[in-house]
Symmetry: C2
Subunit: 232 residues, 2 copies
């Protein structure tokens, strides 16, 4: 049977199950099965919308999703990219009744949504679960924060190098990959103008640091890219 299917919706048998739930006992896993929904989102479809009430914890199984928000000037800003096995919007559950950003599929996605009150029940019933959740949340926000802080101090060339490196190392774990996002989305992600994204990508290609063929990007000289990433 296909690894990509949710096996009869039984969480205990799920190959995607988040490490957070490794702590649960059999009974709790059965409960999880009941209290979660399994969903699909087509590319560009919203998984969650800024301002909408939080229904539960969203666990991304397959596909990439972007976290975005509309800033005060009305410009779309991408906060980060969620990858398979990520709990997205974990912070929102506890800090607010509503999502404070959008979660939008940038590839076809599969995700589970674990009911809000069930999560709360688990916290009460299982202090280990609470602890694991605390760790997870802290790590995720530390990581996000670190990424944003790193981006802030770079100039454009460094930012583009940063996300190319990020996609290659963190997301695809390969020097060659299909760029999942448009130039405009890169611009929104690192807070710059589309024209400059294009220009700098062309520059990297001209300098033989990367190779571009359609949507495919290959990082030819990772060391050079790392240098630019570090030194601007």
């Amino acid at each position: 049977m296909n690894e990509n299917t949710c096996m009869g919706s039984v969480c205990a048998e799920c190959s995607f199950r988040s490490s957070i739930f490794s702590i649960l006992n059999d009974e709790q896993l059965d409960q999880l099965t009941i209290n979660k929904t399994f969903n699909f989102a087509k590319k560009n479809e919203a998984i969650a919308k800024q301002g909408n009430p939080v229904k539960g914890a969203i666990f991304l199984r397959v596909g990439l999703a972007k976290l975005t928000r509309v800033n005060s000037v009305g410009r779309e800003q991408i906060i980060g990219i969620a990858t398979p096995n990520d709990f997205v919007g974990l912070l929102s559950i506890f800090s607010s009744k509503n999502y404070n950003y959008n979660i939008i599929a940038i590839e076809d996605c599969q995700y589970c949504c674990v009911d809000y009150t069930f999560v709360m029940d688990l916290i009460n019933a299982n202090s280990n679960f609470a602890m694991t959740l605390l760790e997870k949340i802290s790590q995720v926000s530390d990581l996000m924060m670190g990424t944003r802080l790193n981006l802030e101090m770079r100039q454009l060339r460094g930012r583009v190098a940063f996300i190319l490196s990020y996609l290659s190392k963190e997301i695809y774990k390969s020097a060659k990959f299909n760029l999942p996002i448009s130039r405009r989305e890169i611009a929104e992600l690192v807070d710059m103008r589309v024209e400059n994204v294009v220009r700098i990508l062309s520059e990297f290609r001209r300098d033989n640091i990367i190779r571009i063929e359609g949507a495919s990007i290959e990082i030819v000289e990772p060391e050079k890219l790392e240098w630019i990433k570090m030194h601007g």
Copy 2:
């Protein structure tokens, strides 16, 4: 007796006690008294250092402190400012064995440090405590993240307006206050150059938006400042 003293170190009687601990029972509060230390930090003194092991949860009672880190280019970057009643470094406790930033007093500070293992014990013993902690952590990181994201999209004038407004509204709750940080620190906080901080402050003064007398700053036209903060 002075509100600023730690009354015989008995947490149950402490007027500064964090809302997090409102959930504890008397016995747990007694335990808290034993498992915390009360400390002072002079201006510019480090309360915690990047890379050092996390000893516990730091609760700021009196004074302001800055959270800083050294970025990859070796430049000091200020992540945020902690105000009285803040738990600083709450994230670090759960995400890492070491602090990933410095906590440095920008005024004379008083703070309590609650032992790491005691916090863990509390989480195990009291699921309400765990829940409150989850909420607190989420709110803090949401807030921080929001602030950084807001800063990213502004240009220099907007960023300076942003922190002036922040100091006035969030920290001093007054139109007139003594600037607690130097021009260089403002620059580090909003990621710009000292010269530009100076220039823009002078510009604001020239335009009669603010008044500067030594370290004292008065916001004369809050509406104009807000406009600049929003529209760059």
